[in-house]
């Protein structure tokens, strides 16, 4: 957004992970987060919060992230790799 600081981005990533918009870090896969992935996560957060979907950590988005809230995540993640298909 308006040039957020690295600390804001770091906090934003933490927040997005805590509330289910980004997958939790998986120490067993060493996957890196792409900028596009972050934008999509921010957009999803903005959609749920009723904010314009800019995909950027703008002031309104950071303000919303700082609002008091329920501890439960907004999006339920299934554990990675769990398949709905079972071996016969």
């Amino acid at each position: 957004g308006g040039n957020p600081s690295a600390r804001d981005i770091s906090k934003g990533v933490d927040w997005l992970t805590r509330y289910g918009y980004l997958p939790p870090p998986d120490p067993f896969s060493a996957r890196q987060q792409t900028l596009e992935g972050l934008r999509e996560a921010v957009k999803a957060m903005q959609r749920v919060a009723g904010l314009p979907e800019t995909g950027e950590l703008d002031d309104a988005t950071v303000r919303m992230m700082n609002k008091p809230r329920c501890s439960l995540p907004d999006i339920i993640m299934r554990p990675e790799g769990r398949s709905r298909r079972n071996k016969r």
Binding site: K11, T17, S29, V48, A49, R69, I75
Partner: protein, 416 residues
């Protein structure tokens, strides 16, 4: 609205309030909790009855970490949470942050009734809603006014009636809960190069950078998020991330984030480099003598949260540096034994976000709670176990690993 996917298989549910917040009497709390539940029964066939026995819905005011993986964070931040019906032993449990300034029907403080209505939505099987007027929006929206006059918004009525039917009509057939899509998986990691074993090594330097802990060893580093999650078991290569360090630099001695401009200082031998984010600033390396340090290097450097000053350690001495003045404070060096309970020649030190300070040496670390200069009892503990996600070998040892992480190295994930 969104459904959690679980539902109570009975219409009469019992509840019990375990305690009350400091700002409110037990009677007022009980009335608000009872009224918040009645809001949901008004629109459904559900009925609620208070009990002294083991209840279906147990409401409790708790503080900080309380053993369920959703620690509270003092005033503001997270306010409450509740467990969905039928999911484990905690089903129906509802926790409120005891550190909030709870109130009702006023703009002052946090409206207990409004938060309770929201959390009971979870206890009954609803998930967060993105609807503009829903009480199930995840964010606190201020007081909802007089509890006795409150009615659920239409989105929440639709949601709860899908689960438990309308009050005086037949039960609507339950719909299959929709699940929100997962983001696609990333590509599988490529071939790996040999790197140090994080479970048996000591670390050259450890730093708190932007709220995350970076553990440096030789030309690699590991990264631990502020939630104490290790980002990867495999380290990253120093020169692929921090651009501008000499490619043949064998190791770092100390790293810290400056308080005055958030730039990051890397120290190796008698030289140092200053980085803006991940890129080195022009004009570096510079000699350590710039700091007024006439030593052959430093063992550790960190910024103490309690005064914003930078501390340098070398062998059994330490210095205090004022970044704003760009000068060493007078009266230093002092003997490092002033930090009681840790040996000399420390590997490195970090201040954590909550103000605690950690000293690392060898494969162990010591914790200094708050602004204490005396190590906490029960330390040293294992860095491998509590920071590096390493499996526990031998008998159980004390840990301050975050909740939800098994000491044997497993990672627990809350799922639907």
């Amino acid at each position: 609205y969104a459904l959690s996917g679980s539902v109570w298989d009975k219409k009469l549910l019992t509840w019990r309030l375990e305690n009350s917040p400091n700002t409110m009497s037990q009677d007022v709390s009980r009335t608000l909790i009872g009224t918040a539940l009645a809001v949901w029964s008004k629109e459904t066939q559900l009925q609620f009855r208070e009990t002294r026995e083991q209840p279906d819905i147990r409401v409790e005011f708790v503080t900080g970490s309380h053993g369920d993986g959703y620690p509270f964070d003092g005033q503001g931040g997270t306010l409450g949470h509740a467990f969905f019906p039928g999911v484990g032993e905690r089903a129906g449990e509802t926790h409120m942050d005891a550190d909030e300034s709870w109130s009702y029907n006023t703009e002052e403080g946090t409206d207990l009734f409004a938060v309770a209505v929201h959390e009971f939505g979870h206890s009954l099987g609803l998930y967060h809603s993105s609807s503009e007027n829903s009480i199930m929006k995840p964010y606190y929206q201020g007081t909802v006014g007089d509890p006795s006059r409150y009615r659920l918004p239409p989105d929440d009525v639709d949601g709860i009636q899908t689960l438990y039917g309308q009050p005086d009509s037949g039960h609507r057939p339950p719909v299959t809960p929709t699940r929100r899509a997962l983001p696609p998986r990333g590509p599988s990691p490529g071939p790996r190069l040999p790197f140090p074993d994080r479970c048996s090594t000591n670390f050259d330097a450890i730093a708190n950078i932007r709220g995350e802990a970076f553990f440096f060893k030789n030309r690699y580093f590991w990264r631990v998020q502020s939630s104490r999650q290790l980002v990867s078991l495999n380290p990253a290569h120093l020169n692929r991330f921090w651009l501008g360090l000499p490619p043949d630099l064998p190791k770092l001695d100390a790293v810290y984030e400056r308080t005055n401009d958030s730039k990051i200082v890397f120290i190796s031998g008698t030289s140092y480099w200053v980085f803006k984010d991940t890129l080195v600033e022009p004009g570096y390396p510079r000699p350590l003598a710039d700091f007024g340090l006439n030593t052959d290097g430093v063992d550790a450097a960190f910024v103490w949260k309690h005064n914003g000053k930078t501390y340098f350690f070398r062998k059994n001495l330490f210095w205090r540096f004022d970044e704003k003045r760009g000068q060493m404070d007078s009266g230093y060096p002092k003997d490092s034994s002033l930090w009681q309970g840790v040996p000399p020649n420390i590997d490195d030190i970090i201040s954590w976000e909550n103000g605690d300070t950690y000293f690392f040496k060898g494969t162990q670390y010591w914790k200094f709670q708050g602004g204490n200069v005396e190590a906490d009892p029960g330390y040293p503990r294992s860095t491998a176990l509590n920071w590096m996600y390493c499996p526990l070998e031998g008998p159980a040892v004390p840990t301050d690993a975050p909740e939800g992480r098994d000491q044997r190295g497993c990672s627990c994930t809350c799922t639907d």
